[in-house]
Amino acid sequence: MPVTSAAVRERSPVRPLPAPDTPRRNTVKRQTHPMWFLAPAFAILLVFFFLPTLFNFVYAFTDWSGFKSSINPTGFDNFTQLASDGTLLRAVRITLVYAVLVALFQNLFGFGLAVLLERDNTLNRVARIFFLVPVLMSALAVGYIFQALLKPQGSLNHLLGIDYAWLGDTTWTIVVVAVIHAWKWMGLSMLIYLAGLKTIPEDLIEAARIDGASRARAFWSIRFPLLAPAVTFNVATALLGSMNGFDIVQATTGGGPARTTEILNIFIYRTFGQGLFAQATAMSLVLFLLVALLAFPVIRTLRRREAVL
């Protein structure tokens, strides 16, 4: 462990006495909080997380496949091939559209539920638990339930008295699937919004009411802005989480109709199953870069609101 050089810059924000950066203190720290405590966790991270990620940057540029045993470098061939038939751009676009829609719906639903069920009484508490059931259920199961509900001869069409192929529309099915994804996770957003609403002191709203603000005005001008941290957290997790989504899309449409709901992970799963490992790796790298690119601004915003986390 390369401890010594870094340990010299030891800062100790918690302790009251200013005893900064003496070598003696660092010796003490080295004994009381040894760096080898990090070893098991970082060994696992290295082998099972960082190394595969590094491999992504290597094998995306090879002809690795299930059909032959040798692996040769091919440069950017996988990417030019994916780009030339439009697959790359389409998959990226679909993934982004899906993520934005999920973030939007999940937060709308979660926020609406939080406002509706805000008061702490028995009815609301029971209702909240019901909205948590989908959060705990397997996403695959949720997908199958909605596949059955949304069949052309399914229950929803029966209830509405229409005949619409909810999961067979090349334009709107992605929206339907995003709503299903949001349905599964809206209970989680609701809980976080509820917790956010609770942190707002009652006297703030009282003061506004005394000043003559209407209920609606007090809500939108005072409580809503104070919910900003919860909004940031919910939007960030929904956005980045759904970019890595798979189960719900796989269980409802499997990427169809006509591959209009084929988000990156569906593509990766499908090409991997066909033995086209290098193409799957290339797309996996694209997903990695896409999320990394989006994550930095999102994390910066999150850190700015560190008080919430």
């Binding site: 810059r9 009381t32 098991p40 696992i44 997380f49 695959l140 339930i145 059955a148 349905w183 994550a295």
Partner: protein, 273 residues
């Protein structure tokens, strides 16, 4: 306005629960109790003849539920144990020794919260390690994926604990391992509960990573649901799919009913303080 809201709110809440949650769950229960012919086109009607137990028994055998259940347990339990032990060991030192190196290690350690794991190349790596398709490989992959979450939550929590308790034990001559095991770990109980709930939720329900790592080699509950459903959709066996869904979700619903307060505070405790 206010009086209207007080009156309308309970009605709206009940209506919403019944339609938005009730209808899908009702569909599962009634379809799971129907015969194959009746379930061909799943609808909300009651089954003419309840055969829930027969259907459950059939998926229990066809879907190899006992094997899948133990497969899931075999993966989830060691994953949670490794994550909590190694994650909190690392988080403790990262929180207490604020060096520049540790700031870098912390950033690396939590990067996995947002960055997607490399699912394809991890298969290659496991093959090279001789762990392909094994439970150990799966446990390693899950641990690698969710260590970030644990390190993030626990480090944040350790920073809120005053170090005086540790110091007292150190003065009494306790070594770092003793201090960690006897003093720090018990104090971490609330945040470890949160982490356990989240990890169980993710790992128990995961099918995507399992496809790549152990697909076809080890039974887990979601993998077998996928197998039953993939065969079932072709054969229109909706009654069996939903019987399986019911079997698989029941333990979670029971846990939710019993420990709802813990789960709710656990989930929100991580996000908003």
């Amino acid at each position: 306005m206010s009086r209207f809201w007080t009156r309308a709110q309970p009605v709206a809440a009940i209506a919403l629960v019944l339609s938005v949650i009730g209808i899908p769950l009702w569909l599962v229960v009634v379809t799971a109790a129907k015969s194959q012919g009746e379930a061909l086109n799943p609808d909300l009607s009651l089954p003419q003849h309840w055969q829930l137990l027969e259907n459950l028994r059939q998926v229990w055998v066809d879907g190899e539920v006992p094997a899948a259940f133990f497969g899931s347990l075999l993966v989830v339990v060691p994953t949670v144990a490794l994550l909590l032990t190694f994650g909190s060991m690392a988080a403790w030192v990262l929180a207490r020794r604020a060096t520049r190196l540790n700031a870098v290690l912390y950033a690396l350690g939590i990067s996995g919260i947002v960055l997607p794991p490399a699912v394809v190349t991890v298969v290659l790596l496991l093959r090279q390690l001789g762990l392909a398709g094994s439970a150990i490989g799966m446990i390693g992959v899950y641990t690698g994926i969710y260590l970030s979450t644990v390190i993030f939550f626990v480090t944040g929590f350790v920073r809120t604990i005053p170090p005086a308790l540790e110091e007292a034990a150190q003065i009494d001559g306790a070594g770092p391992f003793m201090v960690f095991w006897r003093i720090v770990l018990p104090l971490l109980r609330p945040v470890l509960a949160t982490a356990t709930i989240l990890i169980c939720l993710y790992v128990w329900n995961d099918v995507f990573y399992a496809f790549f790592v152990v697909g076809g080699r080890l039974d887990t509950l979601p993998l077998n649901l996928f197998r039953v459903a993939s065969a079932g959709l072709y054969l229109n066996n909706w009654h069996l799919i939903f019987a399986y869904v019911l079997l698989m979700s029941l333990p979670l619903v029971v846990v939710l009913a019993v420990a709802q307060r813990k789960i709710i505070s656990g989930i929100t405790g991580g996000a908003v303080k």
